[in-house]
């Protein structure tokens, strides 16, 4: 939240909860962002995202949205939205903030010109909560006059990409990449998708709670893999390259409201009473 404040980005959440439930939640969790109450799902309906997999007579679930997030710029125009196919996974705050600041694919100019391609790979989080989607961010520095390839590539060339080792409990999503430009070969007339200059690739990733290792009371997950690329100039192509990465990152489960078990372990927000109200309010 501090990062959102510092960046001048406002954060709102909206749910079908009553305002007093949101009050107890924000107090218990120390949430400082604005939580909006839409008990009749009017806003949810106006957006056209009422979850129609739940029939109207199914209390108390009916009225929830298909979960997702919109990012808008200073003019109120939607610049990105994040809706996941699997509701067990939600976009993490770092992705939302990066989108709000328009810094998804920008690269700071290098201090000195690169002589060969170099890659910096980071994970955009200090902590990986189960179901929260973060990103592996690979920044390729490409010397002037050279280019990398994007998908699709013809046989024999390697597109720049991020691969994560297949480990039970680590889930990856489709690679997010900036638009390519086209290079048409003089000889064959074949068109290639290329990245000229520095380029950022992002691989969304989440852990689903199955792979955490407990060490000294803290949980961790290991994420390993490699980035691949091939750099060419107008005359010739270099060999395909790869560079490994290996992150050990603190992990955990998200903290939920106090619905019964867990007294003393989770912040108390009077959850059972609020849940009862959700059951009763449309009877």
């Amino acid at each position: 939240m501090d990062a959102f404040d510092a960046a001048g980005v406002k954060l709102y959440t909206l749910s079908y909860d009553e305002a007093d439930a949101l009050a107890d939640y924000s107090k218990a969790m120390g949430a400082t962002f604005t939580m909006l109450s839409d008990p009749n799902s009017d806003v949810i309906r106006a957006f056209g995202i009422l979850n129609t997999l739940i029939p109207p007579d199914e209390h108390p679930w009916y009225g929830i949205p298909f979960p997702g997030a919109y990012v808008i710029d200073a003019n109120g125009v939607i610049v990105a939205k994040f809706f996941e196919h699997n509701f067990g996974a939600r976009t993490g705050p770092e992705r939302l903030l990066d989108a709000a600041l328009g810094r998804r694919f920008e690269v700071e100019p290098a201090a000195s010109p690169a002589e060969q391609v170099s890659v910096d790979v980071i994970l955009d989080a200090d902590r990986l909560l189960s179901g929260s989607i973060h990103e592996i961010v690979a920044t390729f520095r490409v010397p002037e006059g050279q280019h990398l390839y994007g998908e699709p590539v013809p046989d024999g060339l390697v597109a720049a990409t991020i691969e994560v080792d297949d480990v039970l409990g680590i889930i990856t999503f489709a690679l997010v990449a900036p638009p390519t430009s086209q290079l048409t070969l003089a000889g064959s007339g074949e068109t290639l998708e290329i990245y000229e200059g520095d380029v950022v690739l992002r691989l969304p990733i989440a852990q689903n709670g199955r792979t955490m290792e407990k060490v000294d009371g803290k949980r961790y997950v290991d994420i390993s893999g490699r980035v691949r690329w091939q750099a060419c100039d107008d005359v010739e192509c270099g060999l395909p390259q790869s560079q490994s990465f290996d992150f050990r990152i603190e992990a955990g489960f998200p903290v939920l409201g106090d619905m019964g078990p867990g007294v003393g372990r989770v912040p108390e927000m009077n959850g059972a009473a609020h849940f009862q109200k959700l059951i009763d309010r449309r009877k």
Binding site: L11, A69, G76, I78
Partner: protein, 86 residues
């Protein structure tokens, strides 16, 4: 849009746990009342490039908030979540 429920899942992991088609593990089957995930497309609301519709709702302090007025010309993120209660 014809939206179907994804019923693919099986018991897996600790007793009483279920794994869905994407290997997410939860103490609920994928087609449990509170946990229905779509098998295929589902509506995601207004498109990128359009203005976010007006949002006026009561906040946790009981005040009516007009999102576009409240953000005061700043960029913003609006998250639609299931519930703060469950």
């Amino acid at each position: 849009m014809d939206i179907r429920v994804d019923t693919r899942g099986r018991e897996s992991g600790p007793p009483g746990y279920f794994e869905d088609a994407d290997n997410f593990l939860m103490p609920l089957a994928p087609n449990t009342k509170s946990r229905r995930i779509p098998d295929g497309d589902f509506p995601t609301g207004p498109e990128v490039g359009t203005r976010l519709p007006e949002v006026v709702a009561v906040d946790q302090h009981g005040h009516s908030v007009d999102l576009h007025a409240d953000r005061g010309g700043q960029p913003a993120v609006l998250v639609f979540s299931r519930s703060a209660v469950w």
